[in-house]
């Protein structure tokens, strides 16, 4: 096929539930490609010899390689290429900000002068992963390579993306791996944070099941730092190495007046009630949910999009998304922004909450906001928002969800002597091995990076596993 012919292929739109319908149900919004659509989309890839898309991928998936196979209808072959470097294609195909990663560098997108017309790499990735899962293709249940040899024990703390990846790679190296999770379900942010309508929980469960088939053990309801300390794992329990993948689990608040009123939630709490605890199912689940009719969500990231769309699904009549910069600066995935708008979330950009007002019962009655304008670029390179004096106005709301990010949870650093953290509380690691200041203790994901993405966490988990495997090999020798 010539470049011209490839350019002429219409980019394959993703079939989706109708916005009006889906805004009231929990089912996944994007319905996925058909095999024909996947092949057609994959055939738009020009197979650039320089593979520019790969530099945009945090785990350097051989993107043209897998697209070539998908274009030829060899979907299993395509998945095998992805799996060489990525463990969670069904997840990453759905939640990666592709327009800022692989697709940003896609030559096709550049030729058509629109990043939205780049090859839809994530959608094809998702298709091949879903197809294999639906077929029940048994994941290579590789037996331990070191069977018979004395096995080394690895403790993995947390069960989110970084931990899942690290656990898989350590198990594949033949180690005896145990995952410790504080919640009663495994998956970390994939189960408590990201909603069903964006990432079906059955997909996460199949990843956890795959780990179990690799021989990974799970200890649930186990909060490391309290139930047992990291020092005990190494000194008393016979673990050879420990991986800390506990994420950025401490919600930031705005530090404004009225923020502790009844009806103000962190996005973590709001989403955990709905996702993990299934609080919306009032007939069958015991956890109560807050039924806001007029909801203000503060923030512009994926979590803010998730919370605002969840509010609609739980019966809100009006949902405002309030962000102090402009839409161009929003850190959320492009697709989530579009989906939120289609579903009816009202975006109030260049505005920010100033204080929450309450009634005599201490319940939220309104939100006072301020208008902003963009000033000089700040340290992050984004133009910093500047409040316009006297621009106060009031929104009539009964619920406020704060989705302005997370900082690192101090529980493990506070209970682990000698574990070094930076001034933001993130654990500091050797950039090549992800080993912390304590020999044999590794860390990765948001607890190291600060709040980041699933794929970056996965990359960290993978690097840490390589570090752990090398450390154990050296120690064993």
């Amino acid at each position: 096929m010539t470049t011209k012919e490839r350019m002429a292929i219409e980019p394959q739109a993703m079939p989706e539930q109708d916005p009006k319908v889906r805004a009231r149900n929990m089912n996944e919004v994007a319905l996925g490609y058909t095999p024909e659509m996947a092949m057609r989309e994959a055939s738009r890839c020009m197979q650039c010899p320089t593979k520019p898309c790969m530099q945009g991928c945090p785990v350097a998936i051989d993107i043209p390689g897998f697209l070539a196979k998908a274009a030829a209808g060899d979907f299993e072959g395509a998945l095998a290429v992805i799996r060489k470097t990525s463990l969670l294609p069904a997840v990453c195909g759905r939640v990666c900000p592709q327009e800022k990663q692989c697709q940003k560098f896609c030559t096709m997108g550049k030729l058509l002068k629109d990043v939205d017309k780049a090859v839809a790499i994530g959608r094809v990735e998702r298709f091949v992963a879903d197809l294999a899962r639906e077929k029940g293709a048994s994941r290579e249940a590789e037996a331990s390579k070191a069977s018979g040899a004395p096995r080394h024990r690895v403790a993995i703390i947390g069960s989110g993306p970084a931990s899942i990846t690290c656990a898989a790679d350590c198990a594949r190296a033949g180690h005896d791996v145990t995952v410790f999770e504080a919640f009663h379900k495994a998956g970390g942010v994939l189960v408590y944070g990201i909603p069903e309508f964006r990432l079906p929980k059955a997909i996460v469960q199949s990843e956890i099941d795959a780990l179990k088939s690799l021989g990974v053990k799970f200890e649930m309801n186990y909060v490391v730092g309290r139930t047992r300390k990291i020092g005990d794992f190494i000194e008393k329990d016979g673990f050879d190495a420990v991986f800390i993948g506990t994420g950025a689990g401490l919600p930031k608040f705005m530090d404004i007046e009225g923020e502790n009123l009844v009806g103000v939630f962190s996005a973590n709490e709001y989403l955990t009630r709905a996702n993990l605890m299934k609080a919306y199912d009032e007939g069958g689940h015991d956890t109560p949910f807050w039924h806001g009719k007029r909801v203000a969500v503060l923030g512009g990231g994926n979590v803010a999009m998730d919370a605002s769309r969840m509010a609609l699904r739980l019966g809100a009549e009006k949902v405002y998304l309030i962000y102090r910069r402009s839409e161009a600066e929003m850190p959320a995935r492009r697709e989530e922004i579009l989906h939120a708008k289609e579903e009816g979330v009202e975006f109030l950009v260049l505005q920010n909450a100033k204080r929450v007002l309450g009634d005599d019962q201490g319940r939220v009655s309104a939100l006072e906001c301020l208008k902003y304008e963009l000033g000089e670029p700040d340290a992050s390179g984004r133009r910093s928002p500047v409040a316009i004096p006297g621009s106060e106005f009031t929104l009539d709301v009964d619920t406020v969800v704060v989705a302005v990010g997370n900082t690192s949870n101090p529980l493990i650093p506070a209970t682990t002597a000698g574990l070094e953290v930076n001034r933001r509380g993130n654990i500091t690691v050797d950039p090549e091995t992800n080993m912390t200041s304590i020999p044999g203790v590794f860390a990765g994901g948001d607890i190291v990076l600060g709040a980041a993405t699933v794929i970056l966490a996965m990359g960290e988990g993978r690097r840490a596993a390589a570090g752990i495997n090398a450390y154990i090999a050296k120690k064993g020798a």
Partner: protein
């Protein structure tokens, strides 16, 4: 996992259970708590205090009152049944006077209702650290006292019982003997655990005397590790998380009124869920 090895009903709606939780039994310190779930798939996560623990036997003791759907369901479990989840020990342990360089002194422990249960390990530890421990227990009536014998063992003659109806000990509120003790002088510290309104008035009672007063809070939580922030309270104008910064705070600094309002956030839904659970056990089909 987490099998119930003992169960007793202490009064109309108060129960005590021993639960197998060997790691928690070994690690827990006075002042810490757990989060439990009755059902893995449909259950709610609720914080409960630890009344006692036996590390050799690998069990912890809880004392709970049936106030919502989960405690109602819990009360219907029997010896041999298992809980879906028990997480802990959570929160910072109590700073026991006399353990960290401070001189032991006279500590007054004020427990209201089943707030006496979490007070038990704290009072034990205070006594062991060489403090004089006075315990004030309050309840609506005599039948609602829990762990009276255990507390008497610790405080001896310094145990003061208060009931609303005078059916045991003195008739009146716990704040009365608390004020008298502060007035008499020599009280180094007060620790209070019980209904928020009682803790609030204990704080008001001791404030004029400038006696250090600590309250142990039990707010709404989901994860118990600092992730959700649902438990947050305002202490001295700053937002604190009960699960990781607490559960104990300077009682004079806590914004009690706001905390009580937050604890009532889900009252309508909780009432529906409790009645539903209640009817379920009575065999009445409601939905």
């Amino acid at each position: 996992m987490n099998r119930i090895t003992e169960k007793r009903q202490l009064s109309d709606n108060v129960f005590t259970m021993k639960i197998e939780a060997p790691l928690i039994a070994r690690e827990r310190r006075a002042g810490q708590f757990i989060i439990l779930m009755v059902d893995q798939e449909t259950g709610e996560r609720i914080p409960l205090t630890i009344a006692d623990a036996d590390p050799d036997e690998g069990t912890i003791r809880i004392i709970f009152q049936t106030v919502g759907a989960t405690t109602m369901k819990l009360s219907h479990l029997e010896v041999g049944d298992s809980l879906a989840a028990v997480l802990g020990p959570l929160g910072r342990p109590t700073d026991i006077r006399g353990e960290n360089g401070e001189k032991p002194g006279h500590v007054v422990c004020v427990g209201g209702g089943i707030g006496v249960a979490p007070m038990h390990p704290i009072a034990q530890a205070l006594k062991a650290a060489g403090n004089r421990v006075t315990i004030i227990m309050g309840a609506r009536n005599k039948s609602l006292f829990v762990m009276e014998d255990e507390m008497r063992k610790i405080a001896g003659d310094d145990l003061i019982l208060m009931t609303d109806d005078g059916s045991s000990g003195r008739k009146g509120l716990v704040t009365e003997p608390l004020k008298e003790l502060c007035e008499a002088g020599g009280v180094d510290e007060v620790i209070t655990i019980g209904p928020p309104i009682m803790m609030k008035f204990c704080a008001l009672a001791t404030k004029p005397y400038g006696v250090k007063t600590v309250a142990s809070l039990n707010t709404i939580m989901i994860d118990g590790t600092g992730m959700c922030g649902g438990c947050r309270v305002s202490v001295g104008g700053k937002t604190k998380f009960v699960c990781v910064d607490g559960p104990e705070f300077d009682a004079h600094q806590v914004d009690w009124d706001l905390m009580m309002k937050r604890m009532g956030a889900f009252k309508p839904q909780e009432t529906v869920a409790r009645d539903h659970a209640c009817n379920l056990f009575k065999g009445i089909q409601t939905r």
